[in-house]
């Protein structure tokens, strides 16, 4: 792909901070989210969920519920088409349990009724007979040979023989001679870590409104990170043709990866099909915690060798992740990301995924990476402490850079890690004095970033304005960034552009909003679509002027004659060309569709100061600074917003957030009261430093920025707390009881 790779170009719109196009709707309460719409004749549905961690469904008797006045439809797993594809079958089995319930909160039956109260009353009339089975919720316990088997026959061919049936996959990455590497080390530290499952914690519960008519056509409104993915999953589940299901993405009240799949959408469609009326489902917060996307929980061993002068000689990590009751490939990404920040001669990572009786893992911001990098960055910090070395200097000494063979295989292109570390070193935060009882922590972080399938249409209106139609729900301000890139490329003001997000029938496929892909991929497609429209506008101008279209260039929002014709005609602006478009061949639109690559990996470095109350184990975050390479920050405010938001999610993960299971295998804290996300008063200002090391894969140098910021906080906090209390912490979250216990052990 030939790219106009001119990173030093002077931007007019990109890099500025215009108001976001959805701003007024969102500050006035007018923006419509998943639960904010209704339809004539609409029914409300609720879902009966398993009270058991693991049980066989012996029988389901819905007769009394169906007989209740106002109940219009009842569905169970039998109402969905069986799937050949394992991945799809798992998604569906997670939406509605088939033969066994696999975790506390697993959906069993859904009821649609004329109102919420009747639907809830109907759930109480349903008799489900369960045969309780032994359960396992801990990843290490699940990997033992005598552990209850969550699902049989799910191990991939990659799993070594002799392991528990709960182990579904195994991966190994790395290069070099580990033994030789450890031989060269002056100090070797080996330590084991655990991290709790955490939830994305979006404030908007899943919600949808489905309407299917007797001729098999259906419309679905839902909050999702990917309407096309919802369309594909739901049409398969319902045995429909994709074209018959139109999915419209509502405004989305947070996703962070957790809204990249379906939970209630196929259920609402099945209920609507049965009842012949629109059906709305809105999850309660309790349901969100019990039945939707937590991260993996993990147990990790890391061993790293270092010479006295701070050179890492070898690194090894064994990662055991559980993505809940279904197979999950997240450990692959953790195992690849673990040592990505380092230039190593010898490195090996082994990963295993094990089934447990927990909800099915859903992606959460850089899935798999925070856990692995937490463990590695903790051991690097401990080595620095043991050897009396500066942790930033050690990272600089070992930093991956352009030409480094990465720990997961590929050789890095231009990357910003060294620049990011240098920026941290030069920042006043790094040299600010610390008081007694305080500690400073540092961690690097990494994420791959993705491109993916993308489709954009750019319509030039006759009044000289432009509509961009794209297909990725805006979770962090992407409509603003895309409008900026369209304005930049076309050479017209930002406020002449309106970017909207299409439903599935209005635009070709777009991959979900994930992998930090949207500003990169949709932006790139928008630039290409603008170039397509520009070519057409130049051609129209050439026609008008009666010159060869090759002799027309686009400059500052206008066509200009060039070459031998230069100066012969005054430039014709986009508005002027658009105004006569009906006379020159019809409407003008640019399109681009592609499978984007070249996303460019992302690195960040976080610095944090904490103070620990040694009598209570409470940690106070005093100062926090995020350094990250954004390639080119299209809208710096929203880049900062990603850096700050990701950092705070990571702070929550490090200090207080966790899924807590009781002996009975049931989730103990399915609410915001006891699942403790950070509140405003917990936090200091989050300072940000954006580095711009252009991504060679994008004409403006853009890199994805959304995921990397959640990676470093786990180790940064753990390193800061460990230094503050003089004891190495190795388990997340570092809740006050854990810190006090560590202190008492000394």
């Amino acid at each position: 792909m030939a790219l106009d790779n001119t990173p030093k170009r002077v931007f007019k719109v990109v890099g500025t901070r215009p108001p976001r196009p959805d701003g007024i709707d969102k500050v006035t309460g007018r923006a419509l989210y998943g639960a904010d719409v209704s339809a004539p004749g609409m029914l409300t549905a609720h879902i009966l969920r398993s009270p058991h961690a693991h049980a066989e469904i012996v029988s389901i008797d819905t007769s009394a519920a169906e007989a209740l006045s106002g109940v219009k439809a009842v569905v169970t797993a039998k109402d969905f088409a069986p799937q050949d594809d394992d991945f799809l079958m798992d998604v569906l089995d997670n939406c509605m349990a088939r033969d066994k319930v696999l975790y506390d909160g697993h959906a069993v039956v859904a009821v649609a009724a004329t109102n919420s109260a009747i639907a809830k009353a109907a759930l109480k009339l349903i008799k489900v007979t369960y045969k309780a089975l032994p359960h396992v919720t801990d990843v290490d316990a699940a990997m033992t040979l005598d552990a209850p088997v969550v699902q049989e026959g799910r191990s991939l061919e990659t799993v070594p023989e002799g392991m528990s049936q709960n182990v579904t996959s195994h991966c190994e990455f790395g290069h070099g001679d580990l033994d030789a590497g450890f031989q060269k080390a002056d100090v070797v530290v080996e330590r084991s870590f655990t991290t709790a499952a955490t939830h994305q914690g979006y404030i908007e519960p899943h919600a949808c409104l489905a309407s299917m008519t007797a001729d098999g056509k259906a419309d679905l409104w839902c909050c999702t990170q990917g309407q096309y993915n919802v369309r594909d999953l739901c049409s398969a589940a319902l045995g429909m043709e994709g074209s018959q299901l139109r999915v419209t993405a509502s405004e989305i009240g947070g996703g962070f990866g957790g809204k990249t799949t379906v939970f209630i959408e196929p259920v609402a469609l099945a209920l609507s099909r049965k009842a012949g009326r629109p059906v709305k489902i809105v999850m309660s917060r309790d349901e969100v915690f019990r039945a939707t996307g937590p991260t993996v929980s993990s147990s990790i061993d890391v061993k790293i060798g270092m010479t006295r002068d701070g050179r890492i000689t070898a690194g090894e990590a064994h990662l055991r992740y559980s993505g809940g009751a279904f197979p999950c490939g997240t450990v692959d990404m953790g195992a690849q990301a673990a040592f990505a920040a380092y230039d190593l001669q010898a490195v090996r990572t082994l990963g295993y995924n094990a089934l447990t009786n927990r909800p099915k893992e859903a992606a959460y911001r850089a899935p798999g990476a925070p856990q692995a990098i937490y463990a590695v960055e903790s051991v690097v910090d401990e080595l620095c402490q043991q050897l009396g070395l500066d942790p930033l200097e050690v990272r600089l000494k070992n930093a991956a850079r352009k030409g480094t063979r990465s720990s997961y295989g590929p050789t890095f292109e231009d990357i910003g890690l060294v620049a990011t570390l240098e920026a941290a070193k030069a920042h006043p935060h790094y040299s600010a004095p610390l008081a007694e009882g305080q500690g400073r922590g540092l961690s690097a972080g990494f994420w791959f970033n993705f491109g993916g399938n993308t489709c954009v249409t750019l319509n030039v209106n006759t009044d000289g304005t432009v509509g961009v139609t794209e297909g990725n729900p805006d979770i962090g301000g992407s409509r603003a960034a895309i409008s900026q890139m369209a304005a930049e490329e076309l050479g017209i003001p930002y406020d002449k552009i309106r970017t909207i997000i299409a439903d599935t029938s209005a635009l070709g496929h777009n991959d979900v909003t994930d992998g930090s892909r949207v500003t990169f991929s949709v932006g790139l497609a928008t630039i290409k679509a603008a170039q397509d429209a520009i070519a057409k506008m130049c051609s129209r101008a050439a026609q008008i002027w009666g010159i060869d279209e090759e002799a027309v260039v686009w400059k500052d929002g206008a066509a200009e004659p060039a070459g031998p014709n230069a100066g012969k005609f005054p430039p014709m602006s986009l508005a002027e060309i658009a105004a006569v478009s009906f006379n020159t061949g019809g409407p003008i639109a640019g399109h681009h569709e592609f499978n984007a690559d070249g996303a460019g990996v992302s690195f960040g470095v976080h610095l944090v100061d904490v103070e620990v109350d040694k009598e209570t184990g409470a940690t106070k975050v005093l100062r926090y600074t995020v350094f990250q390479d954004a390639g080119k920050a299209v809208h710096p405010s929203y880049v900062e917003g990603q850096m700050q938001g990701g950092a705070v999610q990571g702070i929550g993960w490090a200090l207080n957030e966790e899924y807590i299971y009781g002996e009975d295998g049931r989730l103990q804290n399915p609410g915001f009261l006891d699942y403790r996300v950070p509140v405003a008063s917990d936090l200091p200002p989050i300072e940000t430093v954006i580095l711009e090391i252009p991504n060679p894969g994008h004409p403006y140098g853009v890199r994805g920025v959304g995921e990397t910021p959640i990676v470093p906080p786990l180790a940064a906090l753990s390193n800061a707390v460990s230094r503050a209390i003089g004891t190495r912490m190795s388990s997340l979250p570092m809740s006050p009881p854990r810190i006090l216990k560590a202190l008492s052990k000394g």
Binding site: K120, D286, E615, T616, G617, A618, L655, N656, I660, Q668, N669, F672, L673, D674, R676, P678, V679, S681, D682, S735, P736, P737, L740, K741
Partner: protein, 287 residues
């Protein structure tokens, strides 16, 4: 379910007495509404007592204050008189929930909810506050300390409800304080809590003290041994150590999602120490 807004305490008492099914009193509603939402409680009658004259009033009485049962945390916090007399009680009430919850939640509701971790209650127990209770047979007074008997359980009879809480007058050189431990800075339920109320003589010696602990036993617990530990002392290190030991010894907590037995036991003593020092300073003492 029926919803009633009686205009007198007698009318309310009558409504409750006549209801054969389950009744819930609604003042701030911050617990009742959560119970309704969860579906665990399905009352037949909800009695909103906010419209009964006097129940939203704070009235000076015998040098102390009578706080109506429907006075919200925010309203109490804005009352300079109560703040000055019983700052520890007020700070306990103000720790219940968010700003939004403060706009509704009441001290009386917090007491009647029967939570061992209720933030308003240790301060009230330390203050030896007296609850006024309305029932089918009229009004009675009862020390706050005698109301909770276990998680979610109180000594109130089925048809009884609180109308006010009386915070008594106190001698010069008195002070109180309440501290709780939560993992975050806001929005959590207390994992351990301590309230201390004390009176000093002119020399700064503690002449009277009450110490109450929260979240470390099935009910809020008055700990006379802890009070004894500081009586006659000037909060010197030995007295503090004895106070902490007495508090930890009085703990009978559980392991749960909020904290461990070990943690609660240790932190209760720490909080009692810190609360005692604040109360001491508020009473005019200098350590």
């Amino acid at each position: 379910m029926r919803f009633a807004q009686p205009r007198t305490t007698e009318e309310a008492a009558g409504l409750i007495a006549q209801e054969a099914g389950l009744t819930r009193i609604l003042s701030g509603g911050t617990d009742v509404m959560v119970q309704l939402k969860s579906g665990l409680v399905e009352p037949d009658l909800i009695v909103d007592i906010k419209h009964i004259p006097g129940l939203r009033a704070i009235t000076p009485e015998d040098g102390g204050f009578r706080i109506g049962a429907a006075v919200s945390g925010a309203e109490l916090g804005e009352h300079e008189g109560v703040r000055a007399l019983w700052p520890g009680v007020v700070e306990g009430v103000e720790l219940i929930g968010s700003t939004q919850v403060q706009g509704r939640a009441t001290m009386a509701g917090n007491l009647c909810n029967g939570s061992p971790a209720a933030d308003a209650v240790p301060g009230l127990v330390a203050a030896n506050a007296i609850a006024r209770i309305m029932g089918p047979d009229g009004e009675r007074d009862c020390p706050v300390a005698e109301i909770p008997v276990g998680p979610g359980k109180t000594t109130l009879a089925k048809a009884e409800f609180l109308t006010s809480i009386f915070l008594p007058a106190r001698p010069d050189r008195s002070g109180d304080a309440y501290l709780r431990f939560i993992p975050r800075t806001e929005m959590d339920i207390a994992v351990a809590a301590a309230a201390v109320s004390l009176t000093l003589d002119a020399a700064g010696t503690v002449t009277a003290a009450r110490v109450a602990l929260g979240a470390v036993a099935p009910t809020i617990r008055l700990v006379p041994a802890a009070a004894d530990a500081i009586l006659g002392a000037k909060l010197d290190d030995a007295a503090i150590a004895a106070l902490m030991e007495a508090c930890s010894a009085a703990c009978n907590p559980i392991d749960d999602k909020r904290g461990t037995i070990e943690f609660r036991t240790q932190v209760a003593g720490v909080l009692a120490k810190r609360a005692a020092l604040i109360a001491y300073s508020r009473a005019g003492g200098t350590v």
